[in-house]
């Protein structure tokens, strides 16, 4: 079981990091998703891997699994879920406003910070 869980965490982290390094927003968002899955799974293992042990005190049982990591994972899941929703919205708005889904700032370097004098037409999409 250790090998399975460890390789799953490692693989998801690797996939996440690889996708994060892409130049367009969509793979970056997916990569962030993979990274947060990896860390959630990892947090579950930090109270040691155990099977068939309750986290809550029950009479007649003297071996428990650690309940704290499960509470922490719950918090982490909620936060990463909200963050993913937010970054999808930002990526979409960015795409709609600039007409390009590049994640780097080069595409907008020619544009100016001055919102009042922005060109009306979106810049042509660059070849990737």
């Amino acid at each position: 079981m250790e090998l399975l869980v460890a390789s799953a965490i490692g693989l998801m982290t690797a996939v996440g990091v690889y996708l994060m390094l892409r130049l367009t927003t969509f793979p970056v968002v997916i990569g962030l998703g993979f990274l947060s899955y990896a860390v959630n799974l990892y947090l579950l293992t930090m109270g040691r891997l155990t099977v068939d042990r309750p986290p809550i005190i029950t009479s007649g049982i003297d071996a428990y699994s650690d309940p704290l990591p499960q509470a922490l994972v719950l918090t982490a899941i909620v936060i990463s879920f909200g963050m993913t929703a937010l970054i999808v919205v930002i990526a979409l708005r960015g795409f709609l406003e600039t007409g390009s889904d590049r994640a780097d700032l080069e595409a907008s370097a020619a544009e100016d910070a001055d919102a009042d004098h922005r060109t009306a037409a979106p810049p042509p999409e660059r070849a990737r």
């Binding site: 994060m20 860390v39 918090t75 982490a76 936060i79 937010l86 930002i90 700032l105 919102a115």
Partner: protein, 509 residues
Amino acid sequence: MTDLIALPTVLPAMTAAFLLLAVRHDLTRQRFVSVAATAALLVVAIALYLVASDGEPRPYFLGDWPAPFGIVLVLDRLSATMLVLAAALALCVVLYAVAGWDARGRHFHALFQFQLLGINGAFLTGDVFNLFVFFEVMLIASYGLMLHGGGARRLQAGFQYVTINLVASTLFLFAVGLIYAVTGTLNMADLAVKAPRANPADAALLRTGALLLFLVFAIKAALVPLHWWLPATYAAASAPVAALFAIMTKVGAYAMLRVYGTVLGADAGPLAGVAGPWIVPAALATVALGAIGMLASRTLLDLVCFAIIGSMGMLLIAIGVSGPAGVTAALYYIVHSTVAGAALFLLVDLIAERRGRLLDRLVPAPAIRQHNLLGGLFLLGAMAIVGLPPLSGFIGKLMILDASRANAGAPWIWSIVLGMTLLMIVGFARAGSTVFWKTEAGAPVEARHRERKLPLAVAGLLIGATAALAAFGGPVTLALQKTAEQTLDTAGYVRAVLGPAALLPKARP
């Protein structure tokens, strides 16, 4: 009296909810409520500072659960100082924003209060996982604030900002996981007790966890090479938001002081000084990069952003030097660079607004309205952040150089800091002479709206604060010295949170 400790988190949370639910369509009332709540927060922070100034750390147990099990807030001199600084800055920023910036997007004030909730919570929490939670609260609000006003450039810079911070959050969770797996606790006081007694076989894991955590704080504090998100973000954010963000980098510095000063301090066994060898070289690189970036800047905003990076470098040198003198210098520099940085962001906004289409680009233009006043304030702000006498930056740099005399890297620190300060002066002189002296003939750009005095007064107040910080340097330094001693007193912190019994059994189980 200890119930007051929860108020800096409760008050902004209630205010934000009230702003969203009760007055979401009425900007005038929003402004009134937000300014009143922020002023009340400053009063609470000052009251807490007075409470904390007797030198005793005070825990506050939420729900009355005893310390290592429940959620605990801890008030000591360090957190009280940071609370006062954050509240004072927030009041200035909100007063600046009500003059018009808050009308350029929706829910500015609600997001602003949520941001304060996160910042105050991060300063007060006594638990590493809750530090993560408050970081997230702070960041979620900052994403909204950063995008305030909209526009393509802001959205693209915002995407990068959110991404880097999500990666930092993931790293934070990995670090928390490693630390919990080895020590079985995340309460800071409990961690301070258990980390030195950890199984030596697990020491490598624990060190990895502590260094990953340092990486997260370094991203927040914009330490080279993790600084590159800062110029794009701050330059794209609206002026009051950028000024408020001046305290956000200091949250990273605070977390370093708390975790590597108080919790994993000098007697933390395998973890003692775990981040030490990394900080000073990276901080020196940060100072150098800030100064060189200033020379390369083509707009005033970029100039100020790189000046902020340079000042974070100075601050982190002091944290890296460590010891009571280093921490005192770091605290003084935290206060100074927050105030001076925020003042410069507001000033640049005022100047850009008066230059019409040219904004803050470093090209000659006709003289602006209130040319001499703004030019003078900009000069004072530049002197403060670069570190020329008689303003607070000079005293701060002097304290840092003095504290680093005993450090092995002292020749490096002295030569790089002094050399880079010269470059920073050149950078500011170049920018200031282009904007204020190379004026072309022509009428100044007409005001688009009715001119208000409040924003200018706020910027002037912040500049005045750096002068006051220098004028009252003696008493301020004495207070910060006591703060530094308390920050490094791990035993006192543990005794206050866990009770006197926690420290007794010293032997390894």
